[in-house]
């Protein structure tokens, strides 16, 4: 599968409080969360983001709390994929588990400019900058992780297992 969208650039250490502030965590409704996505990093983001757009960030994206509301808010806002120089561990795990594609690529994170049109092949982890014509490679995912993604996230992965054991 290939996703295409405009790049929204963010800096280093974008934490989960910036992605979805705790003051909105008295709900887990994706639509409500999406309305406040990235609010403390860029208050206009939720209004302007278009379906398919891609977040491109520096290092340690998603650091801070374990709130799954962070990748949920991003996905519900219509973001098709997140590319960063590096991700915080729990955010990485949560994104995989809910099926938000996410790629570590220092090259892409450094080179892509705000507003560039980007297309990403999810399986091969090839990132193409349509605006500049440049291509970048991302860190390939491990077999175990690809299996979870192939099952459509951890819920389906466990469903399969539950049925097998029953």
């Amino acid at each position: 599968m290939t996703v295409t969208g405009r790049a929204w650039k963010f800096g280093n250490n974008v934490d989960t409080d910036a992605i979805i502030p705790a003051r909105y965590l008295n709900t887990s409704d994706p639509v409500e969360l999406a309305a406040h996505c990235m609010e403390d990093a860029d208050p206009t983001f939720a209004k302007k983001v278009a379906a398919g757009d891609i977040i491109v960030a520096g290092s340690n994206f998603g650091c801070g709390s374990s709130r799954e509301h962070a990748p949920i808010a991003i996905r519900a806002a219509g973001v098709s994929c997140v590319i960063a120089r590096s991700f915080a561990r729990i955010f990485f795990r949560n994104s995989i588990n809910i099926g938000l594609p996410i790629f570590e690529s220092p090259e892409a994170a450094a080179d892509i400019q705000n507003g560039d049109e980007i297309s990403v092949d999810i399986e091969s982890a090839r990132i193409v900058n349509v605006t500049s014509g440049r291509e970048y490679s991302a860190l390939p995912l491990s077999d175990e992780i690809r299996e979870i993604i192939a099952d459509g996230g951890l819920v389906n992965h466990v469903r399969k297992k539950v049925r097998r054991d029953a």
């Binding site: 250490n13 934490d15 409080d17 910036a18 502030p21 705790a22 003051r23 965590l25 008295n26 709900t27 887990s28 403390d40 290092s59 340690n60 650091c63 801070g64 709390s65 374990s66 709130r67 799954e68 509301h69 949920i72 590096s86 915080a88 561990r89 729990i90 795990r93 949560n94 588990n97 809910i98 491990s142 077999d143 175990e144 979870i148 996230g153 951890l154 819920v155 992965h157 466990v158 469903r159 297992k161 539950v162 049925r163 029953a166």
Partner: protein, 422 residues
């Protein structure tokens, strides 16, 4: 080649003789934790997974602590969902207001974690229990749901970084200062994906409360877990709290480390981490004089009895400065009661502080002390991110309880020495 304690625990729980950093394992869990923010999401995912029951009702803990006592209708609905789930699946460890405390203060206090355990919690500060020699790490809600359904979870075995603290601790220096100093040295992603193992004479002399504070903030260096070798102090702490059997397993002499960092504790002064990252740690004397509006003493980092005693030692017979709001939050009901019995509550109230029922409350800008635009707070919590405690233009300075209490008295960031020698 030997193994680190983190590797040993992961190996044992995945039925292997040995594991190496980078290996993917599917491991059995001993305890699964969720709170009023993360459990509702996990409960929905659990239902979608179609499991007929939870893997073991005795190995699940549900702690409503973030927005409790319920701050609004939505929070009340979230807690109701947890309560009903607990009833449906016979989960005894659902802690209602009156029994509840901040999860990471409560679980160790209740003896629910022993050395060698593998614990996962849908809360990033689940790494706290590494203080007792367990492998303990934060996960998301879907992970929590999978763990509740199957009793196991996938892990990538982390590399271990070892931090050796030599020398003796200075006065007013505790676990919080050591961990802020460490994060100041390696940065907020200095231990990303790795285990942080703490050792050395200064660590052996540190109480379990102090170790819990340190392990708590391993995540602030990006780590997967923090871990301490269980010792006499661990055994002493667990006495009367648990009847479970456990072994005092430690890292092998010839274990392989990603890196070893040695710090001389006698050179570490009380620390303050400046806005907006925990890695902005400085000795308090370099940041003295910043005017503040609020002080928070509590949280899963510093809401334990020793922290309360340290704060009281400074506040006793003194007054919170005019224009400063000082909020003290004992981490659990038992700690609260102990504060009452030891006269600490009296000390706090006489000083002009307020004492709250256990809650995460202001730590995440939830309730009970949210900051307005432009306000500055000294807080014994663990995160000083933009907007963490309220308005995006507010500022948080992280410290241990001694610096926080001293700052409350002076009205600006202050060293405990200035106040106590007055």
């Amino acid at each position: 080649m030997g193994m680190t304690l983190t590797e040993k625990i992961l190996a044992r729980h995945s039925g292997r003789d040995r594991v190496r950093p980078g290996d993917f394992v599917v491991a059995r869990v001993d305890l699964v934790l969720g709170n009023d923010i993360t459990a509702p999401v996990a409960i929905k995912e659990f239902e979608r997974m179609g499991a007929p029951r939870v893997f073991d009702p005795g190995k699940i803990a549900l702690v409503p602590d973030h927005f409790t006592p319920n701050k609004d209708i939505k929070s009340a609905e979230q807690v109701r969902m947890m309560r009903e789930f607990a009833r449906k699946y016979m989960i005894a460890n659902f802690f209602e207001v009156g029994q509840m405390g901040i999860e990471h203060c409560l679980l160790p206090e209740r003896g629910m974690v022993v050395p060698g355990d593998l614990v996962v919690g849908a809360d990033s500060h689940t790494c706290t229990y590494g203080a007792l020699g367990a492998f303990s790490t934060g996960v998301g809600s879907t992970d929590m749901a999978a763990a509740m359904a199957t009793g196991e979870l996938w892990f990538k075995v982390p590399e271990t970084m070892k931090f050796v603290f030599t020398g003796r601790l200075n006065r007013w220096v505790g676990g919080k200062d050591l961990i802020l100093y460490t994060i100041g040295r390696i940065g907020v992603e200095g231990a990303r994906y790795r285990a942080m193992e703490f050792a050395g004479p200064a660590i052996s002399s540190l109480s379990i409360d102090g170790r819990l504070t340190m392990a708590n903030m391993a995540i602030e260096a990006g780590a997967k877990n923090g871990i301490f070798m269980p010792d006499d102090k661990t055994v002493e702490y667990l006495k009367g709290r648990t009847s479970r059997k456990y072994e005092l397993e430690t890292s092998d002499e010839d274990a392989e480390y990603h890196s070893v960092h040695e710090f001389d504790a006698s050179e570490i002064q009380p620390q303050v981490a400046l806005p907006h990252l925990p890695e902005n740690a400085r000795p308090v004397n370099e940041v003295k004089g910043v005017r503040i509006d609020q002080v928070i003493i509590g949280s899963c980092t510093n809401g334990r009895i020793e922290d309360m005693r340290e704060a009281a030692q400074i506040l006793k017979g003194r007054k919170v400065a005019r224009g400063v709001r000082c909020i003290v939050i004992p981490g659990t009901q038992a700690i609260y009661l102990q504060c009452v019995r030891e006269g600490l509550v009296e000390t706090f109230v006489e000083a002009g502080a307020v004492v709250s029922t256990p809650t995460c409350g202001p730590c995440l800008g939830g309730h009970m002390g949210v900051l307005a635009a432009g306000e500055k707070a000294v807080s014994t919590t663990n995160r000083n991110f933009v907007g963490r405690m309220g308005h995006v233009e507010s500022e948080i300075y992280l410290s241990g309880p001694a610096v926080a209490a001293a700052s409350a008295v002076v009205g600006e960031i202050a060293s405990p020495d200035e106040v106590v020698s007055q």
